[in-house]
Point group: C2
Chain length 330, copies 2
């Protein structure tokens, strides 16, 4: 897979800056302290991948520019809302190298801060419909947030130690992560104001597969990534006992002595040596290659689903993002 | 103020049953456990006052019947979402004589259950727009949920002991409670599919004043209500130190020795005698009459704002609800 990486990164950064500016503007116009808590996380930045997908999907169908920007903002605010609430549920104290919202503002305020972002997301989605004359953007976003809640619910129940198959896992990451990428592509498509069911289906497939590719690459990096590049401790996900793709691929092997993995898995008192040995063991099992192939396969499907669209800058940016999703090291 | 109370109660019950049926239907169609947690509270019933306002406001402007029902459901789900999250924040263990969602399902699930209800509310709001061809229902609901979050945030900060004026308090209950009544009336009006700004403004005023009347009557009952009828302990709000209308009216008096009140206020170890004496003291101050008059005044304004509409069954039901709001003993 070849793609123009510098171009993708340049475009990702350009869109991220536009979203950052708009987020800064929202906060300034409302000075109450709940707004400060609500926009604390969105203001910490982020790659703004979902807005990238919304805006380029909209370009692909020659959608309404301003409406697409509102839809992109809606999706990004919705994403941030889920992070604020997830961090409370998961008792995570850090995100993006900063303290999480509930650590800074207290839990009650963080719940409300998330709720406020959620409301703002729908306010922007309504604006996108009004600007473009489209229907379906709000509905798509609502259905997506239902899926995200279900996905997080599944994720929590997986952590509680129920037996998890690879299929269960794929269902969970579809709901928790890929559904919002799917929605990003679809709402981008909807900003054209008229429905073309076939093209919307292609965009939906693109987004879903892209989201799965992203998440599985994340999982790969969580075990095999270079901690100097990812910024996370070596074998972070092994220590936390996270049932991510590489772990589930290993656990699904039959007639294999898994003790080198199990010694470190979910055991925070493991030594550095235990962790390094577990990772080596996973490599010997071939799990690293399997996991990479899995992510590549989803990226390929994402790119394929764009084939009915004629060539354009937006199309190569979207394909490029899919390649980037599975090539990145952080 | 005279009104046909049996008729109002009959109509309230009829609408409540229709909403109950629809809520039961939603749950049946989705069997996941997160849905069980999400619909636990909505299924416990309630007076469904806000749907009553949506449906009759829609009748008043000859709005789209089916769209109004979706909008009514949206508002009721949004209301239930706020209750689920508020109970977590306030650490309340009982509501409607049942354990609260987070007590039954755990806090993480309750946060998600609320989020799911929130999403469902917007799904229904989008449906209402699609059915009626209206715009603005989703936006109105989004702005309302922002106000509710801000209102709850203020309420929490009031409890933390900041000095609260009666005006601060009215602002808080507007945001936390009355705004959703306002929205109920407005979205009912929007189901007519076309905008008539004057009539929407009248409906908005009706809903806002109705909501304030409801809340202040609640406050009155929380101090002066007959515990055999309200089902709450005598002087419940005094013991909890809740800064409600009667308490703030008393605290605003100058040159009065407030010690009979302050002995019991926010002091869970007060004796029954202390509480009874505090209530007697408030009556001697005339706070009961002042508080009743305040609620009556908002109800009167609500009724007045309907005067531009020609007489109809819907109009007398809405006026009747305003009278009922301030006459009820529970």
């Amino acid at each position: 897979m070849s793609y123009d990486e510098p171009r993708i990164i340049e475009e990702v950064n350009r869109i991220a800056k536009a979203i950052d500016r708009e987020i800064a503007r929202i906060e300034v116009s409302n000075r109450g302290s709940l707004y400060r808590a609500a926009f604390y996380l969105p203001k910490l930045g982020g790659k703004r991948m979902r807005p990238f997908v919304v805006l380029n999907s909209s370009h692909l169908v020659r959608g309404h520019e301003e409406a697409a920007f509102s839809a992109a903002l809606a999706v990004e605010l919705l994403h941030n809302f889920t992070l604020v609430h997830d961090d409370i549920m998961d008792r995570d104290e850090y995100r993006r190298n900063h303290k999480t919202t509930h650590v800074v503002y207290g839990e009650a305020t963080a719940i409300l801060a998330g709720d406020l972002l959620f409301s703002k997301a729908f306010e922007e989605a309504a604006k996108a419909e009004e600007l473009s004359g489209a229907r379906g953007i709000v509905k798509e976003l609502a259905l997506s947030s239902e899926k995200i809640a279900e996905g997080q619910f599944l994720d929590i129940s997986f952590e509680r130690g129920e037996k998890v198959s690879l299929d269960d896992y794929l269902e969970m990451i579809y709901l928790k992560t890929a559904a919002l990428y799917e929605t990003s592509a679809v709402v981008g498509g909807l900003t054209a104001g008229r429905y073309d069911q076939d093209r919307l289906r292609m965009l939906s497939e693109f987004g879903r597969n892209l989201g799965l590719a992203f998440q599985i690459r994340d999982d790969y990096l969580g075990v095999f990534g270079d901690s100097a590049i990812t910024g996370k401790p070596v074998g972070n996900d092994i220590l936390r006992g996270k049932k991510s793709a590489p772990i589930l691929l290993a656990l699904s092997k039959e007639n294999v002595d898994l003790s080198p993995l199990k010694r470190a898995l979910g055991n925070p008192r493991s030594t550095h040596d235990d962790v390094v040995q577990a990772i080596d063991f996973l490599r010997r099992l071939g799990v690293d290659t399997e996991c990479r192939r899995m992510a590549d396969e989803f990226a390929r499907r994402a790119v394929d689903s764009l084939s009915p669209f004629e060539d354009s800058d937006a199309k190569s940016l979207l394909s490029g993002l899919a390649y980037y999703a599975v090539a990145r090291d952080r």
